[in-house]
Amino acid sequence: MLRRKKDGLVSSEDETDWAALLLRVRDHQDRAAFAVLFRHFAPRVKAFLMKSGAGASLAEECAQDVMAVLWQKAHLFDPARASVATWVYTIARNRRINALRRARRAEPEELDWGPAPEPDQAEALETRQETERLGRALAALPTPQRTLIERAFYGELSHSEIAAETGLPLGTIKSRIRLALDKLRHRMGEGPKRT
């Protein structure tokens, strides 16, 4: 996967621990940690929204909204369940649906265990590693397949186009997501201890 220079360092597997930063926002309203998250994610959200068809000023405004929601909902973030990039993505996607389609998206019920007060370090690390593996798997896809996935997530493919598209490498992704299911089951199994 393409790795960019960040803060003068070529980042590798041990790149910035975004989840730790977001937990500092969550637990201590840490503005310095928020600023680091902002500098990394806001330009990506803006790029993502522009690729989704938003003009520069709308994308700028929405990217600020997305980062403000990230602050506001930090206490709902669960590093064992999602990476920060995934969490930011879901906020950006919902903002896009509101702003560009003027529609809403029904959300499922909350799982009753919610974020654990003391995040399990091992689970959080596993989620992070799984996310990195997923990123590498996507980057390793042949260009036409990767482009299809990107177009789907930029909102360029309608749901019927996604349904009709046989070139989507959903199998590749599925092999990655088996772990997420196992992890979820594991946590559901120990749910009562957390409530």
């Binding site: 330009p43 996507l138 749901h159 598209e165």
Partner: protein, 214 residues
């Protein structure tokens, strides 16, 4: 409860990508509320979105963007802790949001043959409705022009393809002409969404169709 009929990967991906019409997203959210397997899959497709975002490139924010956002969050209340959106009745929480309550809050309209329906307010790209089919009753033989998702909430129905009970989703497209029959024992309640009007094969239901938006 064992769910045997799940959402397709394509639907879960379209949901994660934010590309489903609101009516379909309601059926998906209702099914995810009942089905841990599909919920985990959906979370994983969200993670694909996260990976796409990470690689979307960067477009510089305005110079004062961080300062303005920090100034804004001064005034933002913390979002309330998630209210326990755990449904107590037969409707999953996202459906309760649309109906304004559980089963007793539904405003049914008769559509003939004892079948009742209630259309839910969504955007116009697709239609969502609740169906009430008395036990043992058939829904008129029909085909589909577009995509139709039917989630069973109470009772069960069977058609030429299989049997569907609480939590199961039937995914029907142009290829399927079927006659769903509510099984004996309990009246069947379903949440259905379609992106095209149903067409009935019998003459009378076809005439009634524009009237009832069935």
């Amino acid at each position: 409860m064992t769910i045997r009929h799940h959402l397709s990967d394509q639907l879960l991906m379209a949901y994660a990508a934010g590309q489903l019409p609101e009516a379909f997203s309601l059926v998906v959210a209702a099914h995810l509320s009942l089905c841990d397997d599909c919920r985990a899959q959906a979370d994983s497709f969200d993670a694909v979105g996260g990976a796409v975002l990470e690689e979307a490139g960067e477009i510089a924010m305005g110079e004062d963007a961080l300062a303005r956002t920090l100034a804004r969050i001064e005034w933002l209340p913390r979002a309330a802790a998630p209210k326990p959106r755990r449904a107590a009745g037969i409707f999953p929480a996202p459906l309760v949001d649309y109906v304004g309550g559980d089963l007793p809050a539904v405003r049914w309209r008769r559509v003939g043959g004892g079948v009742r329906q209630a259309i839910l307010p969504t955007d116009r790209d697709a239609t969502a409705r609740l169906l009430y089919i008395p036990a043992g009753t058939a829904v008129p033989d029909h085909g589909h022009r577009g995509l139709e998702l039917t989630l069973v909430l109470q009772g069960a129905f069977a058609d030429e393809t299989d049997r569907f009970s609480r939590g199961d989703v039937e995914i029907a497209d142009e290829a399927l002409e079927h006659t769903p029959v509510a099984l004996a024992g309990q009246d069947c309640i379903c949440l259905a969404a379609t992106d095209a009007p149903l067409r009935f094969r019998g003459l009378i239901p076809r005439l009634a169709q524009p009237l009832f938006r069935i």
